[in-house]
């Protein structure tokens, strides 16, 4: 069991759950799905610099192997933006429920016939 396999299957699982929840009809599961997707993406960004356990994060003067610092900066940006967007989506969902009286993503209850 390598670290690569563990991370890859974690990302895959998160994406699968995220997509399933995004396709639901109510705004709350959709917001959860978006959150899971963004977790998966954050992990993906992190591993794009390759996994380098135990390596120094910056280039030392006697340049040997080291971890890639850039994806860590990218993932930080992505987390901040994702957090803000999720907050906005929750506010929007609450507002839409107040205005339309339903939490269905189409703003109306599906017809039963």
């Amino acid at each position: 069991m390598s670290l690569e396999l563990l991370l890859a299957s974690a990302i895959g699982l998160l994406v699968a759950c995220g997509i399933y929840l995004c396709l639901r009809g109510r705004t709350f599961p959709v917001a959860l799905g978006i959150t899971l997707l963004s977790y998966a993406v954050n992990l993906f960004i992190f591993v794009s610099g390759r996994l380098a356990p135990g390596m120094p994060p910056f280039v030392a003067t006697n340049a040997g192997a080291h971890a890639d610092p850039l994806p860590q900066a990218l993932v930080l940006t992505a987390i901040v933006i994702g957090f803000g967007m999720t907050g906005f989506l929750m506010e929007l969902a609450v507002r839409a429920r107040d205005e339309t009286g339903t939490d269905h993503v189409d703003g109306e209850e599906p017809r039963k016939d």
């Binding site: 995004c22 989506l89 205005e99 339309t100 993503v105 703003g107």
Partner: protein, 518 residues
């Protein structure tokens, strides 16, 4: 000052937006003054930038003076500068129009408007793929708020769809961008262009997947078939000045396709050259067809304009997919034209709707309009231009695209699609115009509403740009020709950006071995 000119179109709205947040509790007059001044300033800066980019080639601005590819750069080449000017013109028109009343519905309209401008300008200027994502998010969050401006259930419903779709799109963007980083070890667009051409055979599949993921994302923003479903509802639900500004927002997606698939996966990319073209041509033709069919089936004028936005996106993407300089130039000219015309028609749709009493802009017979002749003439000018009738700008743009695509394999399809779509657009516009202005029902004309210089002025200004673009077609074409040449041959762009690190031979740091070296 001139050294910092490149970043001005981003900085001006950023500061103005922050100032407008502080002024939110004050009366509307100072907010309008700040908003208008900032937008006018941005337009002037963009215009100067466009002139400079034409004289001395791509202007590169290294943020924090970190040289590319290590730091983030802003690059103002002709393509970016040209779109900045278009952005400034449309924004000014929309903002003047909004003064007639839309901007009083919420305190933060002007602030969001400036942040939207900041995001759009940044997206056009940036030379870094991840920074492009950040500016996408800036313009998206502002667009969410602007779309919701004025509230009401239909807008909220459209906003939920729009926000969720774009959040998924952002996730895909990140996957595509970081996948490209994982393969090449860089995110700078110029450096990517060099690296992608040098990839080993075992890395091609990953790079291809990354590129096509980015195509999906940009296609979503540009409303490419089959990712267009969000656009008509969203644009038709937005208030008129916001919809007019959104006319340039789809162009960000189109621009990103040109930038990434022109510079990075362009003619010089070795085995990955013209990565998007085989997908883009059929999808763009389908977009045109769906757009015009939607326009024919619309029940409201604003909805019809939204569908026409879609068919114009298809038209320009067909030109960009062909990939040669002549068709690219035609596509760029058409992009300018269609942005102005769509924005003008969104404004006109609301003015016409306001003057038809309870019928609004629904395409059904209603009592005659007061001042119908004036509105009808404006509609005729805008409509004829978007259909592509001579002597207006749409005609010249389509001729340029037809000539540019003549030599390609898909030429019969492209020609048939453009000509047929042009004809069907004519039918649709004629139907709408006939119902709105001639097929009047019995009854007193509705009272004239909102027919002031402040609302008619921007609409007239944008419509007359169609005539101006036709009259000054030669200098504009010279500019788009040069812009297209810069894209087709990415040499100048790459050299300009990487110059401080030794141009094409720049050795960029790659901390860990690539997939190949394992």
């Amino acid at each position: 000052m001139s050294a910092h000119l490149t970043i001005l179109p981003v900085l001006v709205p950023a500061f103005a937006g922050a100032l407008l947040l502080l002024l939110a509790a004050r009366s509307i007059a100072p907010r309008r003054a700040v908003g208008l001044t900032a937008t006018a300033l941005q337009l002037v800066a963009s215009f100067v930038l466009a002139m400079r980019a034409d004289e001395v080639g791509p202007l590169v601005y290294a943020l924090g003076d970190w040289p590319a590819p290590f730091g983030i750069v802003l690059v103002a080449d002709r393509l970016a500068a040209m779109l900045l000017v278009a952005l400034g013109i449309v924004a000014l028109g929309a903002l003047v129009y909004a003064r007639a009343g839309w901007d009083t519905h919420g305190r933060y309209f002007h602030a969001f408007f400036q942040f939207q401008l900041m995001g759009l300008a940044g997206a056009f200027l940036t030379g870094d793929l991840f920074n492009l994502f950040v500016f996408f998010e800036v313009l998206l969050i502002a667009s969410y708020c602007l779309l919701l401006h004025g509230l009401g259930a239909p807008r909220l419903r459209a906003a939920v769809h729009y926000v969720v779709l774009n959040l998924v799109g952002s996730a895909l963007f990140l996957v595509g961008a970081t996948l490209l980083y994982a393969v090449t070890g860089t995110l700078n667009i110029a450096d990517l262009a060099v690296r992608v051409a040098q990839l080993g055979p075992s890395e091609h599949a990953l790079a291809k997947a990354a590129g096509l993921l980015l195509l999906v994302v940009f296609g979503l923003k540009a409303a490419l078939f089959p990712l267009y479903l969000w656009l008509p509802g969203t644009y038709a639900a937005a208030s008129a000045p916001v919809a007019a500004l959104f006319a340039i927002m789809t162009k960000v997606g189109v621009y990103s396709i040109v930038r990434v698939f022109g510079i990075v996966f362009g003619a010089d990319a070795g085995p990955l050259a013209h990565l998007a073209s085989p997908w883009l041509t059929p999808l763009a033709i389908a977009t045109m067809a769906v757009g015009v069919l939607g326009a024919l089936a619309s029940h409201r004028l604003a909805e019809m304009v939204a569908w026409l936005t879609l068919s114009s996106v298809g038209t320009m993407l067909v030109a960009f997919a062909a990939g040669n300089a002549e068709s690219l130039s035609g596509g760029l000219y058409y992009m300018l034209h269609s942005t102005f015309m769509v924005a003008a028609l969104f404004l006109l749709a609301e003015i016409v709707g306001a003057n038809r009493g309870p019928s609004g802009d629904r395409l059904q017979p209603a009592p005659p309009l007061s001042r119908g002749a004036l509105l009808g003439t404006l509609f005729l000018l805008g409509g004829a231009s978007i259909v592509g009738l001579p002597p207006f700008s749409g005609f010249i743009g389509k001729i340029m695209i037809l000539r540019g695509t003549a030599g390609t394999d898909a030429a019969p399809w492209i020609w048939a699609a453009i000509l047929l779509v042009g004809f069907l657009t004519l039918v649709g516009m004629a139907r709408a115009g006939t119902i709105l202005f001639w097929q009047t029902a019995q009854g007193e004309p509705a009272a004239a509403a909102g027919m002031t210089l402040g609302t008619l002025g921007p609409a007239l200004g944008l419509v007359s740009l169609g005539v101006v673009m036709a009259a000054f077609a030669a200098p504009i074409k010279a500019y788009t020709d040069a812009a297209a040449a810069e894209i087709v041959d990415n040499q100048r762009y790459v050299e300009a950006v990487l110059a401080p690190m030794g141009g094409r031979q720049a050795r960029t740091v790659r901390p860990l071995p690539s997939v190949n070296d394992r």
